[in-house]
Symmetry: D2
Subunit: 283 residues, 4 copies
């Protein structure tokens, strides 16, 4: 028996009858077996699907089979190997919690990513990156020009390393709208979150001031509207009147690490599809 | 255009290539459109699927189409109308919390069931059932003979009312193994649950004694092994050293109500399939 | 031995050394025994305390003892009997879930309140109130004058029934700033809540549009700033991209009921103290 | 003004009137100010208290003042400096998740402990310990004699380093009953936990087999009854039928890390007091 490969196929197309029949026909034609399948029809009348398929035909043969159906149904699609580590660039500043968590999970096999480089505007996280044998670069950002050069350096790394995912692991700088637009759907940010939401500076102080009983974190795609992109994952933890502002920050860091890791993991497994301002998460 | 009906089809069969292609072919043949689809291949190599399909053909025509494929793939299958209220019998004793919660949710349209009767071994819940205009019967169980007659009365009601689901809403009697076997996969029970688990009498006292920090509830199918059937849903809430035994019981009641309602809701929507000692929950 | 009474004493005063010594001295003097005690010093340097005390002296004798210390330490204080049911007025509109939950919990002894009346601007909840033998009044609000009269009727009931707590159980009308100010710290509202927060109309639609993964509820005191009063309790539940707007609303209702009941229960037990824009919850 | 020291005082004694008055009198005498105070009277009629006190008198002076009251009320008591890092010994085997989490939190100031040494029966975690500049020793355990020597080495380290806390960070060996008894109330273990509980080998396989919907972890003191000591903290996460056994293990590891860190943090802050088979957690 030939070697079996394990594929993950994702696609989106306008909803109409016959899609599943067509795509499952392609799988039969490829002598494949569907091992996992999730689908969703959105209110915008788009059909989203994610399939895992075992098959022994080559990638290019499989692509030829899919391409035919894709044209008939106007599918946008992607085919990848299950478990392939996604090439990832991490942007960071000073805070270590999210980076530590990601690198540990990468090493222990929980996160199917390969962090190709950490790019930071502060030097603090150098030794952490080195412990995990991950390239680390530090470039200060003091001026608009520094910022421009920083983004230029990101672009170089993206090209050199064939980066597929950019993770903002508490990167405290604002990326330019052009950059965000160019890499839309590829940049994941982690953001503290509260009920109700607080606008403006120092949200932990505001949350403390209102005496919130829950604090949380939201992992989302970055769009040109800062902190307003499609939500991938959210979590909360309970707090009481006894927690100081500092303690709220600490609790927040824990939730941020967990929530970011979850979102990155789903993304790297092609489980996150974008539907306008929403995400479809085939978790 | 003819009237569209909204169907829910569930089936299980041995896993092999081509199932999805075949069943989606049947949907195309029935001029149907798949509006929701979930599938799962278990480690026991069985393929489980739940589909919601809009189609304008009649139920019997649709059944004929499915039957053909079902035979080819050795499917056990079921076809129903989405949103049809499932005919339900509730067994209760004295505790009101689960019954109150279910009847309120039925009335407010959150639970797609029709409680045809409440059968209790105590009279306490009569006025609650009456407020919700639900037939209520009370038969004391003082002897083995009473118990036998009680089960006989349940069987009569099941037949007369064409009962599809039996809910034990804190029914504090043990059903006979024969009864459980006869209605396997149709009886849902709610059970308090703790980490770690406690065996024997008075689990809340044991939990209090060990100083547990979480208490929970498990909704499960009833099998001949008491409290050991396939798990449908579980929830927990936090407690502290300050909660008395009585308070633990109260908190437990809240979780029981919520967890039972969730399990019943999923069952009534044909979202719970049984795979040996496990459930597949297409929630 | 004389009959023991079980007291709950709460107070707030400027923080300085000796308060606990003084108040515990008063308890010794009253031949009392402290059965529960919680305290907190806020960042605003106020000292909050809640004590449960068993003692056989009369209320007036006890008050005399406390009054002396209260003056020395500038305490605002309150003495009540543990477990006394707090006289409560519920304002409602059409939605039944919060009212049903409260009345059931009152009846089953989980909520130490006595709902003296339900006042609604719609007739829908009449039979529910009647089942629980709770006086129900309905007055339509179609004009500013109706509104004025409605608030006048509330004031009459507050006076007649000696109301101590006003619960807005999904009451969909805005109370006048004067009313809110007059009963500050006595009105509890339940509000849906999301991460991030959404401003403006139809928040469930906005939440659905952004694809939130958590929806929640906040129980808070009503102040003149609508939906901005001190937070008492918050909860969330998980949702996915599959939940429709209608389903989000349903899930939200469940959280609202639970969260409101928890807040009311703590308030009725004198466990909620206000510290400016925050609450101290001695849960 | 003399330097203020911040003290934490914990004690337990038989409950009787006057304790709080007496201890707060001692604080007044020590010119101290109570900044945090928690107390609890258990059903076994013991009174537990934890106080944080700012005072400028010396430790020995303060101890003299307390000692007098302690004798009168038969108190077992402990006085420490708030925030002092507790000298900790970690026992580990191969699994890295709990150790990584603890060392990161220690470094980032979230966990008030000083890990004096990691003692393991496998060499795998050496480089992780070294990155965090923590002494690491590895001694294989292949025989009863090895085990005896391993415990002897633990005892040596406890004495040399003045160890106050022993954390079993997924240490997969059973400690001798004598060792457990000798260090009762000083050894914290982390244990996977399920609803319902599973006895015997391979609990994740059992949990998977029953199709549990929640998996959790319990941090507890180690007693001679394996996995049965007083519970300090518990957490759960949701799982579905889709999670493989391997995935359950991963999710379990995350909860284990969080739960162990929380328990250790509370212990190091003298927030965990033992009441027979229960804990009082003044969190």
């Amino acid at each position: 028996m030939p070697n079996q490969e394990h594929w993950v196929l994702t696609f989106v197309c306008p909803d109409k009858p016959g899609i599943v029949h067509a795509i499952s026909g392609a799988v039969v034609q490829a002598q494949g077996n569907i091992t996992e399948s999730k689908q969703f029809t959105s209110e915008s009348n788009h059909f989203f699907m994610r399939l895992q398929i075992e098959s022994s035909i080559s990638k290019s043969e499989f692509e030829t089979v899919i391409q035919e159906i894709a044209e008939a149904y106007q599918m946008e699609w992607q085919l990848d190997v299950v478990g392939r580590r996604m090439k990832t660039l991490v942007l960071a500043s000073k805070a270590a919690h999210c980076l530590n968590d990601m690198l540990f999970r990468q090493l222990s096999g929980q996160l199917p990513i390969e962090v190709e480089a950490v790019l930071a505007n502060h030097p603090d996280l150098k030794s952490l990156a080195e412990f995990y044998k991950t390239p680390f670069e530090h470039h200060s950002i003091e001026s608009a020009n520094d910022k421009h050069n920083f983004e230029k350096r990101i672009e170089e790394l993206i090209e050199q390393k064939e980066i597929e995912l950019i993770v903002l692991a508490r990167y405290m700088q604002i990326l330019s709208p052009e950059f965000c637009a160019r890499h839309a759907g590829k940049i994941i940010n982690i953001h503290h979150s509260f009920l109700p939401g607080f606008k403006g500076a120092n949200p932990y102080a505001q949350a403390h001031q209102r005496g919130v009983k829950l604090i949380g974190a939201t992992a989302h795609f970055v769009t040109e509207d800062l902190d307003e992109g499609p939500i991938i994952e959210q979590n909360v933890d309970r707090v009481t009147h006894e927690e100081s502002k500092q303690k709220l920050v600490r609790i927040g860091q824990d939730i941020e690490s967990r929530t970011l890791a979850q979102a990155v993991s789903w993304f790297a497994e092609h489980r996150v599809l974008v539907d306008g301002s929403r995400t479809i998460v085939f978790s």
